[in-house]
Structure formats: C-alpha cells, structure tokens
C-alpha cells in the first residue's frame, strides 16, 4: 500500500536526517517505529502523513507515485491518513468534541450527523465528562486521548501515531493500544513510533528501527497476533 525506496530527507540545507530508507507497508499491517531520540522517527512519520516531500527517493502512496501527484490531489490522500502528533496539536479554541469532529467536518459531514459518533468515541477513551472542555483545561494524558480520538474518528486507511502513549499510565496505554489493534483488525494500516518497549513486546508487531537516520527491520515477536485480518 505504501512503499519507500531509497528515500532521503534533509531539512533545508542541513545534513540528511534520513538516509536510504526502503520499506513497504502492506494493507492492514501494524508496525512499530523505534529508535533513540533524534534518530529521525518524527521525520519519517512526517513523510508518511504527507507533511513533507522527501529530498530524494521514491515514495508510493495507495498506488500513486508521490512525485507525480499534483498538489490538488493531496487533500484527498490526507483524509485517508489519521495522525497522532507527538505534541498533540489540538486546536486550542475548540472543545474536545469539536476537535474530534474536525476530520469528519472536513469531509463535509454536518455537525448533527457526527455528534453520536464523536460522543461514543470520546466515551470510549474515558473522556465522556470532558467533551466540552478546551485543551487548555485538559491534562497531558487527556489531550493525548483527544488527539487519538481525532486521528481514528474517520477510520483512516493509514494511522500514524508519534509517541501516542507517552503521557498516560500503563493501563490507559494498553487501552489505547487496544483501540489501535481493533482499528487494525478492520483494515487500517498502523505505524506507531514509541520508546515503550513493554508496549512493543505486548503487541509483538514487526519493528522498523531507526538509528541516526538509517533503517533496519526487525520481525515481531508473537505474544498475540493483531496484524492479520
């Protein structure tokens, strides 16, 4: 579904932050992305959620070569990708509810049509009492859950999550991971960047490991098997 071939990435005129990255993500696959701080995880995810063009190399998205895609075609692709940003990036002046509803609204849904769905998901992540709170009044873990709910609300084809469990306790982390696994079961391709080895072990999915901008792949263990349909 997504293929990277010899992809390199640099910011401006700096040195390459990613070098010769090659991998492919099958439809419905589940990958972890690990590596020390500064290895380039967020940078790689930015390429995956179409925030940057690579400096070199081939990227194929849903069967289309990124280099030949015109700018007008990108919004449609982006709507098929859910993103949990490392720093959440919620809209500060909107409530949790409105933030989570945004992806659906961007696709053209009316506010009334989305209400049930949004409320259900927010309850699922334990925020039924905080639905109409603004991000400024939410704790780090609550913001993170809003960010996750926003990323999965429209059942994306690809879910990209950058440290999605960095601010929650282990129990909530497992619960959120369970959400990803459920989503994965209905066909969403998932990439989760994390430092949390326990989480990686629990899911046992294959690992993309980055170190100083270079990628190596490690097959997953098999505690339980979330990847296949």
């Amino acid at each position: 579904m997504i293929t990277f071939e010899n992809v390199g990435m640099r910011y401006g005129m700096g040195t390459e932050v990613l070098r010769d990255i090659s991998f492919s993500l099958d439809r419905g696959s589940f990958h972890f992305l690990t590596g020390p701080s500064g290895a380039g995880k967020t940078t790689l995810l930015k390429l995956l959620y179409l925030a940057h063009r690579p400096s070199r190399g081939l990227v194929n998205f849903f069967g289309r070569d990124l280099a030949t895609l015109e700018r007008e075609a990108l919004p449609r692709l982006r709507r098929r990708i859910g993103v949990v940003f490392q720093d959440f990036r919620l809209l500060d002046h909107l409530t949790a509810f409105e933030n989570v509803a945004l992806p659906l609204r961007i696709q053209g849904a009316k506010k009334a049509q989305v209400a049930d769905h949004v409320e259900e998901l927010l309850s699922w992540v334990g925020l039924e009492d905080r639905m109409h709170a603004r991000p400024a009044t939410l704790s780090g873990g609550e913001k993170q859950r809003v960010a996750i709910a926003r990323a999965v609300i429209n059942k994306p084809d690809l879910l990209v999550a950058d440290e999605p469990t960095g601010n929650v306790d282990p129990t909530m982390a497992r619960r959120l991971m369970h959400l990803f696994v459920e989503l994965n079961k209905i066909g969403t391709t998932i990439v989760v960047a994390t430092h949390d080895e326990e989480l990686v072990e629990m899911i046992g999915a294959p690992i993309l490991s980055l170190d100083k901008g270079e990628l190596s792949q490690i097959e997953g263990g098999t505690p339980f098997d979330p990847g296949e349909d």
């Binding site: 700018r71 990108l74 709507r79 961007i106």
Partner: protein, 292 residues
Amino acid sequence: MWGRTLQFLPKQNQREGLLPWVIGVMLFLCALSLTSALALGRGLERWSAGLTSNLSVQIVVDEPHERQQQTDAVLTMLRATPGVKEASVMATEDVIGLLRPWLGDMPTDTGLPLPTLIEVKLTKADAVNIKGLGERLRATAPGARLDDHQAWMTQILDLAGVVQLLLAGIVVMVVLCTVAIVIFGCRAGLASHRESIEIMHLMGAEDKTISKAFDERYLGHGLKGGLFGVLMAGLTLYVLIRLAAEMGQGLIQAGLPAASSLMWLALLPLMSGLITMVTARITVRRALLELM
C-alpha cells in the same frame, strides 16, 4: 457556529480584536485628509481664478485730451493682446462708487481729477504675463499704471499651485499608509492562526476551505473598522461645516467640502473591507503554498 463555511477559527482573538480599531483610525485620518485636501484644492482654484482674471489699469494724466489719447491707445493695445477677453473704461459713477469708502458721498461734477480706470477681463487666470503686460503698457502710454497688486498675485498663484501639489502628495501618502497599515494589521492577525491553518491542512482540508473561513471574518473586520472611521470623519466634517456656516463666509470654508459631497465617503468602508479580505486570502494561500 459552523454555518456553511467550516469555521475552525476562534470567535475572539486578541490580536485581531485591535484590527478594526486600527483600520477605523486610519480611515478616519484618510477620509479627513482626502476631503479637506480636495475641498482646499478646489477652493484655492476658484479663489485664485477670481483674483486674477480681472486686472485694472489706471490712466493718470491731468490734461483731458492727452488722457483720452492714452486711454484709446491702451484700449487698442489691450484688445489686441491675446488672453484678454474684454477691456473697457469704467463709468465715472462706478469709479466714484469705488472711492466712496474713502471719500464719502460726493457730487459727480466736483472737478476733482478722477483717474480713468480700465477694467480688463482675461480669458483665464494665467492667460497673460503680468510683468510683460506692465512693460508694454508703459511703452504705449506713459501715464498708464497696471494695478501693482497683480504682481504679488502671480506669486500667490504660484504658491497655490505648490500647495495643491503638496496636498495631492499628502493624500497619496495617507492613502498608501492606510493600505499598508491595513495589510500589516491583517498579517499580524493571521500570524496567530498559523498553527490552526497547518493542522487543518494536514487533516486534508482544501486550500479554499481554509481560506474561506478567513474571507468572511476579515471582510467583517475591514467593514467594521472602515464604517467606524468614516462615520467619525463624516461627523467631524459635518460639525465643522455647520460651525463655519454660522461664522459666515470665511477662509475656514475654503478648507471644507460641501456637505453634499460627503456621500462618496460611503465607498471607503467597502474598500477597506475588500482590502482586508484580499490581503487575508493572499496571506493564507501563501502560507498554505509553503506547506506541502
């Protein structure tokens, strides 16, 4: 709150909150300087035209026959001068009328030597070189004197021209300054929305969806500010016009427009609304194009 446009912006924003006021003050100044410059320019034109399209020539000769001869010579010369529309001898009664403030009422046949006055009307204010005309008059008739207040009148005319140019310059500067401040104000307001724009973009919102949210908002800011400024300017001018009318004809009125000519001020808020909207659209689109 969503309406037809997908409104993802905060209802209130501190930096933007100032924008309508900044626009209002700028438009107030702009409207005032525009109207008074135009009125002052027109006033100067009318005033100087009235002053100089009329000249007078005195024939100061005691001997009646000689005086008549010189008068005829001067009339012939004047009527042959290009730029002179009319030249005629003023009737004795009119000359006495002119002198009345100094001499009081008097009979027409006192035998006092009244000067012969020739009234000259020019086709337009600067149709004749006054200095050259004076020299030619003296050559034609030694007793002829061009009223010499005309000499400094030409200097005033030159000055009026310079003042008009200056006014035009000031107006151009104030208008440009207003446009620039409106644009800078918009940009400052928009800078605070940069993060929202980027998030919407990454979630797959199209450029036009995003910039549409700003269109209405900034059109509103521009209209609101413009309306406020122009209303204040209109009110100020109206009060000044009324005050000037009460004080009677005077110099003050030269700098004021006619009350009826204030209607076009209504166009200014539309213009400021349009400028803010277009600026917002351009700024947002440009920010979006910087993203992938």
